[in-house]
């Protein structure tokens, strides 16, 4: 197998400004027989018109899961079947990306199909009905009724960004989806799938000139004006709140977070990346919170923390690229716990978060985490598709090659820098807490009366844990009783 060699030698990240006549591109030519396309539009659900939430996602789904003008969707599926390819889509607040990988032997056929899908969509009514049904069922069944963790995590974003362009699920709401029409999709496509929003990503051993051909083909899109605008911090009042989503479920899922004024382009981002990796590296036993909640106490399956949006985390170990956002939140994800330990676990998470803010990282923890992140970026970018995705994100954030950027930034960082960044960004008293559970009462009581939530174990625990438990079981949840709301699940994403 041959492929391009250096992991970090991401070619030309073109930081050229967008113009109305020239589309931008990020190309990573190499020698791999696998050719990766990431066709990115800097538009997304934050551009959904009011009352038409879900339109950006529906438009993307219509392109990737609907027919082109010359071929029905079924004909496209049939043509791609022997190539084992497809065009996949992902819509986030500010980015819409279409991805596809073709073996070089099938490149011409695959590219022609993808080009027609994206540039000459069919917009058939039967495709529209199907993809809209899929969106409704995704919200109504897959999210509300099959995955308490993702339900809680996504609802947290809805709450934090209430009244903000980010303030609805990327797939929309059940009510808005039911009102959308195929004409809405056409209009959104015309306005947002434009050269002004386009960045072509291409990687692999493609024939010379393919990049120019793609750019020239996609120049057929209307010039348009850039959808990207400045998104302000969400208008969120101080003080913490709890929303309890009730449904018939056997366990209790907890997510919490608050907005931060930091994204990947901010000077403090590497410091917060270190802080959150130390506190709760995704799906890793190598983190503080996991050690305290799962490993020492067996409360659940895992406990993690984030400074960037990371959907579908229960299904994957590394984040998908092209979810870049101007506005991000700090988030703690507590995986489902037994109902009778729900309140204790919430207190434990808040207690540990309080300790992070109070004590920060030791020098030793800082050094180990820095070393981890420096090397781990090679894991994040080990496939060609991931490298291309990160390069597109780097272009968006204007930080240059991700691995180089991170390595250089980490090398300059000190434990004091990290601890100062924690103080600056992670210390506000405005946590939004989402709990998905059957019975809200224990949480309401814990807030209203500070009712203790003692815990018992099936095995003896060391003294330090028992001492800590004595503190945690009565740890004050700093939320006013009036700020605890109960939301039946059928009102969420409605």
């Amino acid at each position: 197998m041959s492929r391009r060699l250096a992991l970090v030698a991401v070619a030309a990240v073109l930081l050229q400004p967008l113009t109305f006549t020239q589309s931008a591109s990020v190309v990573q030519p190499g020698t791999s027989p696998l050719i990766v396309f990431r066709i990115l539009f800097t538009t997304g659900s934050a551009s959904d018109p009011a009352g038409k939430e879900g339109l950006a996602s529906l438009a993307a789904a219509m392109l990737a899961e609907g027919g082109s003008r010359s071929r029905t969707y079924q004909q496209i599926v049939e043509a791609m079947y022997p190539m084992a390819t497809s065009v996949n889509w992902q819509v986030d607040k500010e980015m819409t990306v279409f991805t596809g990988t073709s073996h070089v032997e099938n490149l011409d056929g695959f590219y022609a199909l993808m080009r027609d899908m994206l540039l000459d969509p069919g917009f058939r009514q039967d495709d529209f009905t199907r993809v809209r049904d899929d969106a409704v069922n995704f919200l109504k069944v897959s999210l509300r009724e099959s995955n308490d963790e993702e339900l809680g995590k996504e609802y947290l974003y809805d709450l934090i960004y209430a009244g903000h362009p980010y303030g609805h699920h990327n797939r929309g709401t059940i009510a808005s989806l039911q009102k959308l029409t195929i004409d809405d999709v056409r209009a959104f496509y015309r306005e947002h799938f434009t050269r002004a929003n386009l960045v072509v990503g291409l990687a692999g051993g493609y024939p010379k000139g393919l990049d120019a051909k793609v750019e020239s083909d996609f120049a057929a899109l209307p010039a348009g004006t850039a959808s990207k605008k400045t998104f302000d911090a969400p208008p969120m009042p101080a003080g913490s709140t709890i929303a309890i989503v009730t449904r018939d479920t056997r366990s209790t899922a907890i997510s919490m977070g608050f907005p931060i004024d930091v994204n990947r382009s901010s000077p403090d981002w590497p410091a917060l990346a270190v802080a959150t990796s130390y506190f709760g590296q995704h799906r890793s036993s190598n983190s503080y919170l996991y050690g305290r909640l799962r490993e020492a106490r067996g409360l659940n399956y895992g406990d993690y923390a984030y400074v960037e949006y990371f959907p579908r985390g229960m299904f994957q170990f590394t984040p998908d690229p092209n979810l870049a956002r101007q506005q991000q939140i700090f988030q703690i994800w507590i995986r489902p716990v037994e109902v009778n330990t729900g309140v204790f676990t919430l207190r434990a998470a808040l207690y540990e978060y309080g300790k992070l803010v109070r004590d920060g990282l030791s020098r030793e923890a800082f050094e180990a985490t820095r070393e981890f992140l420096t090397k781990y970026s090679n894991i994040l970018t080990q496939t060609q598709s991931a490298r291309l995705g990160y390069a597109l994100d780097s272009r968006y954030y204007r930080i240059g090659d991700y691995n180089t950027y991170l390595r250089d930034a980490l090398a300059k960082l000190s434990a004091d820098d990290v601890n100062r960044a924690i103080q600056r960004h992670l210390a506000p008293n405005r946590m939004r807490i989402v709990i998905v559970t059957k019975d809200p009462k224990p949480f309401q009581d814990a807030v209203a009366r500070n009712t203790p939530s003692p815990i018992t174990y099936n095995s003896p625990k060391p003294k330090d844990i028992m001492d800590e438990d004595a503190v945690i079981q009565a740890y004050r949840i700093d939320v006013k009783p009036a700020d605890v709301t109960v939301v039946p699940v059928d009102k969420v994403f409605q």
Partner: protein
Amino acid sequence: MKARRWIVVTVFALVGIGAWYLRPATGETAGANLFTYPYSVDDLPNGLRLVTVPTDYPNMVALYIVVRAGSRDEVEPGKSGYAHLFEHLMFRGSENFTPRQRDDIMKRAGADTNASTNQDRTTYYVVFSKEDLDEVMKVEADRFQRLKYAEPAFKTESLAVLGEYNKNSAEPTQKLDEALYETAFTRHTYAHTTMGYLEDVQDMPNQYAYSLEFYKRFYTPEYATVLLVGDVTRERALELTKTYFGGWARGSYAPNIPAEPRQTEPRTAHVDWPSPTLPWVAVAFKGPAYSDTAKDKPALDLLSPMAFGPNSDLYKQLVLEEQKVDDLGADFGNHPDPELFTVYARVKNVKDLDGVRDRILATFARFTREPVDQAKLDATRSRMRYSFALRMNSSPAIAAALAPYILLTRTPDTINKVFALYQQVTPDDMRTMAAKYFTDNNRTIVTLTPKAGTK
């Protein structure tokens, strides 16, 4: 459609057939072999096998250790879920490395490390930079030979397994599968899921002594294969394997896995789901075990996407045209014993559930009578070939693709053998095999609907 029976500590998407990478190795003819990376197989005197696959992906190494212990090996009643429990316990420390010390080493290495369990195997992996190879091998070798956990740590970890059960429990297909397998299998251990029954999971904290016995049975060199893929040479891999795993003592246990008696009647089961959901139907037939010498399974592997994949007539009708179903697909993994060929459908309206079931049955029946179209068969072979080529995009991806075959035969060579069989399968073979396996008396149907009264 995802394989639903995986314990998702790690998800490796199962593809019906393995490493169809297209570049021929030096001196070989294109198309003659599927898996064309040069590899070596070395057996240690204690029964441990080392498979080394150097790739030209630089710097990174993927170490996979495949243990032939899965929920299939859980033969005692009340002891479902122990292979998976062990996957957890293996992170609880060994004689020379406490969990903290192991974590520190992995953290400094910037390693990605985890494990997964299914019916037939437990797979442990670490992905790391090549300069850390020696240390990673040393740490891994210690836990495979000298795992050491005290009873309190055992009890705590068993609660994390319960936490895993809990996080899965909101998903209706978990319950659908539990019902499907316990209905289809009456004696064989495939009757229970890898996660195990809730009551067994809840009893795990009381089974410390049994857990030690489980380790003694299966964590022995003859049950394990070390797979190293990436920026590594055979010499270095062998040297380190001998150094760190050479003293591992061979075991003597052979599980007595009960054979499943021949099914003599169609079976059905139903799950009442307590909260709102869309209804599901699963139609399953007992299929053949994995073999790289018989055509039975390759013929049905090829039929699976043709009959039920996104390009099938049924998919076109139910998903695209009539839009009665929003998820349709077949699951037919490779297993050492006969397992299930299952078609799953999520139905948009409960009134269509019986009709969808009947259409799935009619599709099975159709292929017992009609030979498939030769051009579609060729397209399917092409699809399988490229689908694997597209997966070969990193050393860990290659290791993940090999691991299931390592479990089955302990060598990547089986991939090339089974590929040769795929080339020989004819439309008539497919009809013959469909008629042999898709019989009424070999069938189990399970439905799941929201309990009356839920919206």
